[in-house]
Symmetry: C2
DNA sequence: TATAATTGACTGACGCATTAGTCAATGAAA
DNA sequence: TTTCATTGACTAATGCGTCAGTCAATTATA
Protein backbone atom coordinates (compact mmCIF):
# COMPACT_ATOMS: atom_id res chain seq x y z
CA UNK A 1 0.00 0.00 0.00
CA UNK A 2 2.42 2.63 1.19
CA UNK A 3 4.92 3.63 -1.43
CA UNK A 4 7.87 1.53 -0.29
CA UNK A 5 10.78 3.91 -0.37
CA UNK A 6 13.78 1.71 -1.01
CA UNK A 7 16.57 2.90 1.25
CA UNK A 8 20.09 1.88 0.43
CA UNK A 9 22.66 1.18 3.08
CA UNK A 10 24.54 4.35 2.15
CA UNK A 11 21.41 6.46 2.58
CA UNK A 12 20.63 4.83 5.90
CA UNK A 13 24.15 5.45 7.13
CA UNK A 14 23.93 9.10 6.13
CA UNK A 15 20.68 9.41 8.09
CA UNK A 16 21.89 7.75 11.31
CA UNK A 17 23.72 10.68 12.92
CA UNK A 18 20.70 12.93 12.60
CA UNK A 19 18.35 10.26 13.94
CA UNK A 20 20.67 9.85 16.90
CA UNK A 21 20.91 13.61 17.49
CA UNK A 22 17.11 13.90 17.44
CA UNK A 23 16.75 11.07 19.92
CA UNK A 24 19.52 12.52 22.08
CA UNK A 25 17.67 15.85 22.25
CA UNK A 26 14.53 14.20 23.58
CA UNK A 27 16.35 12.09 26.14
CA UNK A 28 18.69 14.80 27.40
CA UNK A 29 15.71 17.15 27.72
CA UNK A 30 13.80 14.51 29.65
CA UNK A 31 16.53 13.44 32.06
CA UNK A 32 19.45 15.84 31.85
CA UNK A 33 22.99 14.87 30.94
CA UNK A 34 23.87 12.56 33.82
CA UNK A 35 20.39 11.07 34.07
CA UNK A 36 20.24 10.02 30.43
CA UNK A 37 21.45 6.54 29.44
CA UNK A 38 23.06 6.17 26.05
CA UNK A 39 21.06 2.96 25.72
CA UNK A 40 17.80 4.93 25.94
CA UNK A 41 18.90 7.15 23.09
CA UNK A 42 19.78 4.11 21.00
CA UNK A 43 16.48 2.44 21.79
CA UNK A 44 14.58 5.52 20.66
CA UNK A 45 16.32 5.27 17.27
CA UNK A 46 15.74 1.52 17.13
CA UNK A 47 19.39 0.48 17.31
CA UNK A 48 21.67 -0.61 20.14
CA UNK A 49 24.21 1.27 22.16
CA UNK A 50 27.12 0.07 20.04
CA UNK A 51 25.75 1.90 17.01
CA UNK A 52 25.67 5.21 18.85
CA UNK A 53 29.37 4.79 19.59
CA UNK A 54 30.07 4.21 15.90
CA UNK A 55 29.00 7.79 15.27
CA UNK A 56 29.92 9.59 18.49
CA UNK A 57 33.03 9.02 20.59
CA UNK A 58 31.55 9.67 24.03
CA UNK A 59 28.34 10.74 25.73
CA UNK A 60 29.87 14.20 26.21
CA UNK A 61 30.69 14.56 22.52
CA UNK A 62 27.19 13.42 21.62
CA UNK A 63 25.68 16.01 23.95
CA UNK A 64 27.79 18.80 22.48
CA UNK A 65 27.03 17.73 18.92
CA UNK A 66 23.33 17.69 19.75
CA UNK A 67 23.41 21.22 21.12
CA UNK A 68 25.36 22.39 18.09
CA UNK A 69 22.90 20.70 15.74
CA UNK A 70 19.82 22.31 17.28
CA UNK A 71 21.37 25.75 17.77
CA UNK A 72 21.77 26.37 14.06
CA UNK A 73 18.21 27.27 13.00
CA UNK A 74 17.97 30.27 15.32
CA UNK A 75 20.85 32.08 13.70
CA UNK A 76 18.76 32.67 10.58
CA UNK A 77 16.33 34.89 12.48
CA UNK A 78 18.67 37.82 12.98
CA UNK A 79 19.32 37.94 9.25
CA UNK A 80 15.62 38.24 8.45
CA UNK A 81 15.28 41.35 10.55
CA UNK A 82 17.68 43.32 8.34
CA UNK A 83 15.13 43.94 5.60
CA UNK A 84 12.55 45.71 7.76
CA UNK A 85 11.48 49.29 7.12
CA UNK A 86 9.14 51.75 8.82
CA UNK A 87 9.33 53.71 12.05
CA UNK A 88 11.59 52.59 14.88
CA UNK A 89 8.45 51.61 16.77
CA UNK A 90 7.21 49.40 13.95
CA UNK A 91 10.56 47.74 13.51
CA UNK A 92 11.07 47.20 17.25
CA UNK A 93 7.65 45.58 17.62
CA UNK A 94 8.24 43.41 14.55
CA UNK A 95 11.45 42.09 15.99
CA UNK A 96 9.98 41.52 19.44
CA UNK A 97 7.13 39.61 17.81
CA UNK A 98 9.57 37.42 15.90
CA UNK A 99 11.61 36.83 19.04
CA UNK A 100 8.47 35.81 20.90
CA UNK A 101 7.65 33.21 18.25
CA UNK A 102 11.20 31.93 18.03
CA UNK A 103 11.97 31.83 21.74
CA UNK A 104 8.81 31.55 23.82
CA UNK A 105 6.71 29.53 21.39
CA UNK A 106 9.32 27.26 19.84
CA UNK A 107 9.75 24.08 21.85
CA UNK A 108 13.30 23.45 20.64
CA UNK A 109 14.55 26.87 21.69
CA UNK A 110 12.76 26.57 25.03
CA UNK A 111 14.31 23.23 25.82
CA UNK A 112 17.75 24.42 24.74
CA UNK A 113 17.30 27.17 27.31
CA UNK A 114 16.55 24.52 29.91
CA UNK A 115 19.74 22.65 29.04
CA UNK A 116 21.81 25.83 29.18
CA UNK A 117 20.49 26.55 32.68
CA UNK A 118 20.72 22.97 33.92
CA UNK A 119 23.99 21.78 32.33
CA UNK A 120 25.92 25.04 31.96
CA UNK A 121 28.24 24.13 34.84
CA UNK A 122 29.37 20.95 33.13
CA UNK A 123 29.76 22.47 29.66
CA UNK A 124 31.25 25.97 29.92
CA UNK A 125 31.54 26.22 26.13
CA UNK A 126 27.77 25.93 25.99
CA UNK A 127 27.43 29.12 28.01
CA UNK A 128 29.85 30.99 25.80
CA UNK A 129 28.16 29.88 22.59
CA UNK A 130 24.75 30.75 24.02
CA UNK A 131 25.96 34.20 24.90
CA UNK A 132 27.72 34.92 21.61
CA UNK A 133 25.06 33.51 19.28
CA UNK A 134 21.91 34.23 21.23
CA UNK A 135 21.87 36.77 24.05
CA UNK A 136 24.43 39.24 22.73
CA UNK A 137 22.98 39.59 19.18
CA UNK A 138 19.47 40.08 20.55
CA UNK A 139 20.55 42.73 23.05
CA UNK A 140 22.65 44.48 20.43
CA UNK A 141 19.75 44.55 17.98
CA UNK A 142 17.32 45.96 20.52
CA UNK A 143 19.91 48.47 21.72
CA UNK A 144 20.42 49.72 18.18
CA UNK A 145 16.71 50.10 17.49
CA UNK A 146 16.10 51.98 20.71
CA UNK A 147 18.94 54.37 19.92
CA UNK A 148 17.45 54.95 16.46
CA UNK A 149 14.07 55.68 18.02
CA UNK A 150 15.62 58.11 20.48
CA UNK A 151 17.53 59.83 17.69
CA UNK A 152 14.38 60.21 15.59
CA UNK A 153 12.44 61.58 18.55
CA UNK A 154 10.01 58.65 18.73
CA UNK A 155 11.31 57.32 22.05
CA UNK A 156 12.18 58.95 25.33
CA UNK A 157 15.78 58.66 26.39
CA UNK A 158 16.20 55.52 28.42
CA UNK A 159 19.43 54.00 29.67
CA UNK A 160 20.39 51.56 26.94
CA UNK A 161 22.55 49.39 29.20
CA UNK A 162 19.35 47.79 30.49
CA UNK A 163 17.60 46.86 27.29
CA UNK A 164 17.10 43.35 28.63
CA UNK A 165 14.18 44.99 30.44
CA UNK A 166 12.52 45.49 27.08
CA UNK A 167 12.80 41.82 26.07
CA UNK A 168 12.12 40.48 29.56
CA UNK A 169 8.51 39.38 28.95
CA UNK A 170 9.76 37.05 26.21
CA UNK A 171 12.30 35.26 28.40
CA UNK A 172 9.86 35.19 31.30
CA UNK A 173 7.20 33.48 29.19
CA UNK A 174 9.83 31.00 28.03
CA UNK A 175 10.85 30.13 31.57
CA UNK A 176 7.30 29.91 32.91
CA UNK A 177 6.35 27.54 30.09
CA UNK A 178 9.53 25.55 30.76
CA UNK A 179 8.60 25.08 34.38
CA UNK A 180 4.85 24.63 34.19
CA UNK A 181 4.39 23.54 30.57
CA UNK A 182 0.61 23.82 30.21
CA UNK A 183 -0.29 22.53 33.66
CA UNK A 184 -0.90 25.07 36.44
CA UNK A 185 -0.02 28.07 34.25
CA UNK A 186 -1.97 28.38 30.99
CA UNK A 187 -0.13 29.00 27.76
CA UNK A 188 -0.90 32.63 26.89
CA UNK A 189 -2.83 33.49 23.76
CA UNK A 190 -0.21 34.94 21.45
CA UNK A 191 -2.12 37.92 20.03
CA UNK A 192 -3.57 38.99 23.38
CA UNK A 193 -0.22 38.64 25.10
CA UNK A 194 1.67 40.65 22.49
CA UNK A 195 -1.00 43.35 22.56
CA UNK A 196 -0.68 43.72 26.34
CA UNK A 197 3.13 43.53 26.17
CA UNK A 198 3.47 46.17 23.47
CA UNK A 199 0.88 48.44 25.01
CA UNK A 200 2.67 48.45 28.36
CA UNK A 201 6.09 48.80 26.74
CA UNK A 202 5.08 51.81 24.65
CA UNK A 203 2.68 53.62 26.98
CA UNK A 204 3.54 52.56 30.50
CA UNK A 205 1.28 51.98 33.42
CA UNK A 206 0.47 55.53 34.54
CA UNK A 207 -2.80 57.12 33.56
CA UNK A 208 -1.67 60.74 33.31
CA UNK A 209 -2.04 62.57 29.93
CA UNK B 1 42.40 31.92 70.72
CA UNK B 2 38.91 31.27 69.49
CA UNK B 3 36.35 30.74 72.22
CA UNK B 4 36.09 26.97 72.28
CA UNK B 5 32.40 26.30 72.26
CA UNK B 6 31.90 23.00 74.03
CA UNK B 7 29.38 21.01 72.05
CA UNK B 8 27.61 18.08 73.63
CA UNK B 9 26.69 14.98 71.68
CA UNK B 10 23.01 15.86 71.86
CA UNK B 11 23.68 19.33 70.46
CA UNK B 12 25.79 17.90 67.68
CA UNK B 13 23.11 15.40 66.77
CA UNK B 14 20.51 18.16 66.65
CA UNK B 15 22.78 20.15 64.34
CA UNK B 16 23.55 17.34 61.89
CA UNK B 17 20.39 17.43 59.73
CA UNK B 18 20.82 21.13 59.03
CA UNK B 19 24.52 20.72 58.25
CA UNK B 20 23.62 17.95 55.84
CA UNK B 21 20.85 20.00 54.21
CA UNK B 22 23.24 22.92 53.71
CA UNK B 23 25.85 20.66 52.16
CA UNK B 24 23.19 18.98 50.02
CA UNK B 25 22.11 22.35 48.67
CA UNK B 26 25.62 23.19 47.50
CA UNK B 27 26.23 19.80 45.91
CA UNK B 28 22.84 19.49 44.20
CA UNK B 29 23.25 23.01 42.82
CA UNK B 30 26.72 22.16 41.53
CA UNK B 31 25.91 18.83 39.90
CA UNK B 32 22.15 18.33 39.77
CA UNK B 33 20.32 15.42 41.35
CA UNK B 34 21.76 12.49 39.41
CA UNK B 35 25.24 13.98 39.18
CA UNK B 36 25.60 14.47 42.93
CA UNK B 37 27.14 11.71 45.05
CA UNK B 38 25.85 11.27 48.57
CA UNK B 39 29.48 10.78 49.59
CA UNK B 40 30.34 14.31 48.41
CA UNK B 41 27.58 15.73 50.58
CA UNK B 42 28.88 13.78 53.57
CA UNK B 43 32.45 14.87 52.91
CA UNK B 44 31.37 18.50 52.83
CA UNK B 45 29.92 18.07 56.32
CA UNK B 46 32.99 16.17 57.49
CA UNK B 47 31.29 12.82 58.07
CA UNK B 48 30.87 9.70 55.98
CA UNK B 49 28.04 8.44 53.84
CA UNK B 50 26.62 6.21 56.56
CA UNK B 51 25.87 9.22 58.73
CA UNK B 52 23.79 10.83 56.00
CA UNK B 53 21.65 7.70 55.85
CA UNK B 54 21.05 7.89 59.59
CA UNK B 55 19.16 11.14 59.04
CA UNK B 56 17.67 10.70 55.55
CA UNK B 57 16.21 7.50 54.12
CA UNK B 58 17.20 7.96 50.49
CA UNK B 59 18.87 10.45 48.17
CA UNK B 60 15.41 11.42 46.86
CA UNK B 61 14.09 12.14 50.35
CA UNK B 62 17.20 14.17 51.11
CA UNK B 63 16.71 16.23 47.96
CA UNK B 64 13.07 16.92 48.78
CA UNK B 65 13.88 17.81 52.38
CA UNK B 66 16.57 20.19 51.16
CA UNK B 67 14.16 21.99 48.82
CA UNK B 68 11.61 22.21 51.61
CA UNK B 69 14.19 23.57 54.04
CA UNK B 70 15.36 26.36 51.73
CA UNK B 71 11.91 27.31 50.45
CA UNK B 72 10.70 28.45 53.85
CA UNK B 73 12.43 31.84 54.20
CA UNK B 74 10.75 33.27 51.10
CA UNK B 75 7.26 32.85 52.49
CA UNK B 76 7.93 35.58 55.04
CA UNK B 77 8.24 38.20 52.31
CA UNK B 78 4.62 38.25 51.31
CA UNK B 79 3.62 38.92 54.90
CA UNK B 80 5.87 41.97 55.12
CA UNK B 81 4.12 43.61 52.20
CA UNK B 82 0.81 43.76 54.03
CA UNK B 83 1.76 46.74 56.17
CA UNK B 84 2.55 49.12 53.31
CA UNK B 85 0.65 52.32 52.79
CA UNK B 86 0.68 55.11 50.21
CA UNK B 87 -0.45 55.34 46.60
CA UNK B 88 -0.87 52.19 44.52
CA UNK B 89 2.24 53.28 42.59
CA UNK B 90 4.31 53.56 45.74
CA UNK B 91 3.15 50.21 47.04
CA UNK B 92 3.65 48.48 43.69
CA UNK B 93 7.19 49.78 43.38
CA UNK B 94 7.97 48.83 46.98
CA UNK B 95 6.90 45.29 46.37
CA UNK B 96 8.73 45.01 43.06
CA UNK B 97 11.86 46.29 44.81
CA UNK B 98 11.51 43.69 47.54
CA UNK B 99 10.91 40.97 44.98
CA UNK B 100 14.03 42.04 43.10
CA UNK B 101 16.12 41.72 46.23
CA UNK B 102 14.57 38.42 47.25
CA UNK B 103 14.57 36.76 43.83
CA UNK B 104 17.20 38.26 41.55
CA UNK B 105 19.78 39.17 44.16
CA UNK B 106 19.43 36.29 46.61
CA UNK B 107 21.63 33.37 45.66
CA UNK B 108 19.50 30.79 47.42
CA UNK B 109 16.33 31.76 45.58
CA UNK B 110 18.20 31.92 42.29
CA UNK B 111 19.62 28.44 42.69
CA UNK B 112 16.27 27.05 43.80
CA UNK B 113 14.92 28.39 40.52
CA UNK B 114 17.68 26.51 38.71
CA UNK B 115 16.72 23.28 40.47
CA UNK B 116 13.04 23.77 39.67
CA UNK B 117 13.87 24.18 35.99
CA UNK B 118 16.42 21.38 35.87
CA UNK B 119 14.84 18.74 38.11
CA UNK B 120 11.15 19.53 37.77
CA UNK B 121 10.55 16.49 35.57
CA UNK B 122 11.86 14.13 38.22
CA UNK B 123 10.03 15.79 41.14
CA UNK B 124 6.55 16.87 40.06
CA UNK B 125 5.68 17.91 43.62
CA UNK B 126 8.46 20.46 43.40
CA UNK B 127 6.67 22.16 40.52
CA UNK B 128 3.38 22.25 42.38
CA UNK B 129 4.94 23.65 45.54
CA UNK B 130 6.85 26.25 43.55
CA UNK B 131 3.66 27.34 41.87
CA UNK B 132 1.52 27.46 45.00
CA UNK B 133 4.05 29.13 47.30
CA UNK B 134 5.97 31.29 44.87
CA UNK B 135 4.54 32.15 41.45
CA UNK B 136 0.86 32.27 42.33
CA UNK B 137 1.14 34.51 45.42
CA UNK B 138 3.37 36.97 43.57
CA UNK B 139 1.07 37.19 40.58
CA UNK B 140 -1.97 37.53 42.85
CA UNK B 141 -0.33 40.34 44.81
CA UNK B 142 0.65 42.28 41.69
CA UNK B 143 -2.78 41.70 40.16
CA UNK B 144 -4.46 43.09 43.25
CA UNK B 145 -2.28 46.20 43.36
CA UNK B 146 -2.80 46.93 39.68
CA UNK B 147 -6.55 46.64 40.10
CA UNK B 148 -6.37 49.05 43.05
CA UNK B 149 -4.39 51.50 40.96
CA UNK B 150 -6.88 51.24 38.12
CA UNK B 151 -9.78 51.76 40.53
CA UNK B 152 -8.15 54.85 42.03
CA UNK B 153 -7.42 56.29 38.58
CA UNK B 154 -3.64 56.10 38.96
CA UNK B 155 -3.16 53.40 36.32
CA UNK B 156 -4.54 52.92 32.85
CA UNK B 157 -6.68 49.84 32.36
CA UNK B 158 -4.46 46.97 31.34
CA UNK B 159 -5.45 43.32 30.97
CA UNK B 160 -4.69 41.86 34.40
CA UNK B 161 -4.34 38.29 33.11
CA UNK B 162 -0.85 39.21 31.93
CA UNK B 163 0.61 40.76 35.03
CA UNK B 164 3.65 38.49 34.66
CA UNK B 165 4.72 41.13 32.14
CA UNK B 166 5.06 43.58 35.02
CA UNK B 167 7.38 41.32 37.02
CA UNK B 168 9.24 39.97 33.98
CA UNK B 169 12.44 42.03 34.44
CA UNK B 170 12.89 40.40 37.85
CA UNK B 171 12.70 36.84 36.59
CA UNK B 172 14.78 37.73 33.55
CA UNK B 173 17.57 39.13 35.71
CA UNK B 174 17.40 35.99 37.83
CA UNK B 175 17.77 33.71 34.83
CA UNK B 176 20.53 35.74 33.18
CA UNK B 177 22.53 35.70 36.42
CA UNK B 178 21.86 31.97 36.73
CA UNK B 179 23.28 31.33 33.30
CA UNK B 180 26.16 33.78 33.15
CA UNK B 181 26.80 34.48 36.82
CA UNK B 182 29.20 37.43 36.59
CA UNK B 183 31.14 36.26 33.54
CA UNK B 184 30.09 37.53 30.12
CA UNK B 185 27.07 39.41 31.47
CA UNK B 186 27.77 41.94 34.24
CA UNK B 187 25.66 41.94 37.38
CA UNK B 188 23.49 45.04 37.10
CA UNK B 189 23.79 47.85 39.61
CA UNK B 190 20.69 47.56 41.74
CA UNK B 191 19.71 51.21 42.03
CA UNK B 192 20.32 52.00 38.36
CA UNK B 193 18.50 48.89 37.25
CA UNK B 194 15.44 49.56 39.38
CA UNK B 195 15.35 53.17 38.24
CA UNK B 196 15.32 52.11 34.58
CA UNK B 197 12.82 49.31 35.26
CA UNK B 198 10.35 51.51 37.14
CA UNK B 199 10.71 54.39 34.70
CA UNK B 200 9.89 52.18 31.76
CA UNK B 201 7.09 50.41 33.60
CA UNK B 202 5.35 53.64 34.61
CA UNK B 203 6.00 55.87 31.62
CA UNK B 204 6.60 53.59 28.65
CA UNK B 205 8.93 54.03 25.75
CA UNK B 206 7.07 56.55 23.60
CA UNK B 207 8.05 60.20 23.69
CA UNK B 208 4.66 61.76 23.02
CA UNK B 209 3.14 64.16 25.61
C1' DT C 1 20.27 -14.05 -14.47
C1' DA C 2 22.17 -16.98 -10.77
C1' DT C 3 25.71 -17.74 -7.49
C1' DA C 4 29.71 -16.70 -4.83
C1' DA C 5 32.73 -13.41 -2.44
C1' DT C 6 33.12 -9.29 0.08
C1' DT C 7 31.97 -5.52 2.75
C1' DG C 8 30.69 -2.92 6.73
C1' DA C 9 26.79 -1.38 9.66
C1' DC C 10 25.26 -3.18 13.53
C1' DT C 11 25.10 -6.17 17.59
C1' DG C 12 25.27 -7.53 22.42
C1' DA C 13 27.89 -9.58 25.88
C1' DC C 14 31.53 -8.11 28.78
C1' DG C 15 35.09 -5.40 31.49
C1' DC C 16 35.51 -1.86 34.47
C1' DA C 17 34.29 2.00 37.26
C1' DT C 18 31.00 4.20 39.95
C1' DT C 19 27.64 4.76 43.51
C1' DA C 20 23.22 3.99 46.31
C1' DG C 21 22.22 1.87 50.32
C1' DT C 22 23.39 -1.64 54.50
C1' DC C 23 25.01 -3.03 58.90
C1' DA C 24 28.23 -5.09 62.30
C1' DA C 25 31.98 -3.03 64.62
C1' DT C 26 33.98 0.97 67.01
C1' DG C 27 35.15 4.31 70.31
C1' DA C 28 34.09 8.54 72.55
C1' DA C 29 30.82 10.89 75.50
C1' DA C 30 27.86 10.47 79.46
C1' DT D 1 30.27 0.63 82.17
C1' DT D 2 26.71 1.82 79.03
C1' DT D 3 24.97 4.26 75.24
C1' DC D 4 24.72 5.54 70.66
C1' DA D 5 26.56 8.50 66.87
C1' DT D 6 29.58 7.32 63.55
C1' DT D 7 32.24 4.49 60.64
C1' DG D 8 33.82 2.05 56.50
C1' DA D 9 33.88 -2.19 54.34
C1' DC D 10 30.51 -4.54 51.86
C1' DT D 11 26.67 -5.76 48.08
C1' DA D 12 24.01 -5.03 44.50
C1' DA D 13 22.97 -2.52 40.74
C1' DT D 14 23.82 0.54 37.19
C1' DG D 15 25.86 2.38 33.10
C1' DC D 16 29.86 3.85 30.05
C1' DG D 17 32.62 2.30 26.55
C1' DT D 18 34.74 -1.88 23.81
C1' DC D 19 35.22 -5.14 20.19
C1' DA D 20 35.03 -9.75 18.09
C1' DG D 21 31.50 -11.61 15.60
C1' DT D 22 27.19 -11.57 12.58
C1' DC D 23 24.48 -11.19 8.60
C1' DA D 24 22.16 -8.48 5.13
C1' DA D 25 23.32 -5.53 1.34
C1' DT D 26 26.33 -4.97 -2.29
C1' DT D 27 29.56 -6.17 -5.83
C1' DA D 28 32.12 -9.47 -8.66
C1' DT D 29 32.09 -13.58 -11.32
C1' DA D 30 30.24 -17.34 -14.06
Amino acid sequence: MAAQKKITRAEQKALRPIQILDAAFEEFVRSGFTGTRVEDIAERVGVTKGTVYVYFETKEKLFEAMIHHFSVPFQELLGITEGLSGSATDRLLSILGLLYEQIAEDRTTRELTRLVIAEGHRFPDLIDRHHDQFIEPIIAKVDALILEGVASGEFREIPVEFSEIVVAPILTTTVLRLIFDDRRVPTPNKEAFLRAYFDLLLNGLLAKN
